[in-house]
């Protein structure tokens, strides 16, 4: 702009900066500063009582020596098995719901109910359903199929499958609504053209529906992985102290334990950075490869 700023424009600019100031300030105070401070703490040994001492990279080397780090990372990644399963179920539900039947709105609401339910309450109710001796699930398994159900949350081999099951129950409704919105925006002309060419239902699904929904697949995968990396609340309730043999602890649970149970602030910050960098790299890779398979119009 070469013109001299008019009085009005000057005033307007002042207002504009005032209007955008709060989130920018919020970012500086509660985002950037803590982040930089966190890097600094990660090189210290500090319990918040005595004064911090500089230990260089000790926290990081210690981190890679702790088996529990790898265990919790493994657990966290294991839980991501639920993402593709959940996507398939959500998409199926969305396709089933994408038609005008009476009562669909009610069904949609009911499927969405677990999504908005408080995760703590949901975890408590599943803890009871998954109880080995008196839980509803094992009772039904025995009654209907004659299967003696496992000790879901008490057996190191079954904790993670249990968590995935609970995650699916609580999550499919959310992605279903996303897919439903996606399906409703697919133009019917694609299908009409395919029908003229003699495509059957399955071909239409594979060649049209799936690729056209790819922006939603992408969104669900990216958000799902970020969410899985940060899962905590259900672990806190369902896998007390990390569960049997630490089989249920996620990386955030590990960080939480070290920070707010042992008050090992430096070490916990180093672990938090490990997580932060992992999330960053994984998300970056996903965006990098996005244009190979995500369809944009």
């Amino acid at each position: 702009m070469n013109m001299k700023l008019t009085g009005y424009r000057k005033k307007e600019l002042a207002w504009l900066y005032l209007f955008v100031a709060p989130p920018v300030l919020g970012f500086l105070i509660f985002g950037l500063t803590p982040m930089l401070f966190s890097i600094f703490i990660s090189f210290q040994k500090w319990d918040m009582i005595s004064s911090p001492t500089w230990v260089g990279f000790d926290n990081y080397t210690e981190l890679f020596k702790d088996e529990k780090v790898f265990q919790s990372l493994f657990n966290t990644v294991y839980l991501m098995i639920g993402i593709p399963i959940g996507m398939a179920i959500s998409l199926l539900l969305a396709i089933l719901m994408n038609r005008s039947i009476k009562g669909i709105a009610f069904l949609r609401t009911m499927y969405y109910l677990p999504v908005i339910s408080p995760i703590i309450a949901v975890s408590l109710l599943w803890q009871w359903i998954l109880n080995q001796d008196y839980g509803l699930l094992n009772h039904l398994l025995w009654n209907w199929f004659g299967i003696k159900g496992p000790n879901w949350l008490g057996d190191a081999d079954w904790v993670k499958p249990s968590l995935i099951l609970i995650g699916l129950w609580g999550g499919v409704g959310g992605n279903m609504v996303l897919y439903l919105a996606g399906l409703q925006s697919v133009s019917s002309t694609y299908y009409e053209a395919a029908e003229i060419d003699g495509a059957n239902g399955w071909q239409k699904f594979i060649r049209i529906t799936l690729p056209l929904l790819s922006p939603i697949h992408f969104f669900v995968v990216v958000m799902g992985i970020i969410g899985a990396f940060q899962s905590f609340s259900q672990i806190y309730v369902l896998a007390v102290d990390g569960g049997p043999e630490y089989s249920g602890a996620t990386i955030v649970y590990y960080i939480f334990q070290h920070a707010f149970k042992y008050f090992n602030m430096g070490f916990a910050s180093a672990a938090a950075w490990l997580l932060g960098i992992l999330i960053f790299i994984v998300t970056l890779i996903q965006f990098k490869f996005a244009d190979r398979w995500v369809y944009q119009d």
Partner: protein, 278 residues
Amino acid sequence: MKYKKITNYWALLLLLAGLIFMIAPFIWTVSTSLKSQRNVFEIPPKWIPDPVSFSNYVEVWGQAPLLKGFMNSLIIVVVVLTIGLFVAAMSAYAFGKFDFPFKGALFLGLLGTMMIPYSVVMIPQFIGFSWLNWVDTLLPLIIPGLFGNIVVVFFIRQFISGALPNDLIEAAKIDGCSFPRIFWTIALPIMKPALAAQAALGFMGIWNDFLGPLIYLHTPEKQTIQVLIASMQALYIGQSNYPIIMAAAVIAMIPVIIVFFFSQRYFIESLAISGIKG
């Protein structure tokens, strides 16, 4: 169209079968919460409790300051949503409708914050707030929310840049309307549906939040409902007193479910607005 009708019936049948799996846990929870501790381990399990007893609710209510917990959660939700949404609306308006130096850089920087996981900032934030002596108060859960959530800013910006025609702003300018007045009398009313959608989503997010409240709130009278309910488990799981724990779970769920049933159209609308499409 007979073929279509038949597939519709099949779809409905499958959805109804799935529905059982989705709602059975809720029904089972309510049913358990109405049983007495003696009857809860009956085999086969009974779906309809006999006798029905509300004593678990009375006991849970007496055991923990749940009313306080509701109030604490409510205070956080109301303050953060009213101020936080208003502030987010202001910056969304500025980012969405105007040009100013460094706009792109500022907005991109803000979007970058979405990449920072809470676990990275939670430790330094905790240290900072404990220096201010704010631990065991609601302040660490309220103050950061007042600066406007960037996801909300992004969402409203998307909405307003399409919904509010530039001509309208220009006309108001010519009529001598001041900048804040244009925002207040023209932009804000147009934003209403987007704000309502974000309020509904925000309510659920803040009400159900657990990690933050768990870190900061230690005295039961100061805890949010979620933290209180989680501590019920520690108290009663040793005695396997599931009816009481389920009563606590039901109490925690009721407000959210009520709000959801009244606001569910905003959830759907928020998807339409966010522009996620196939």
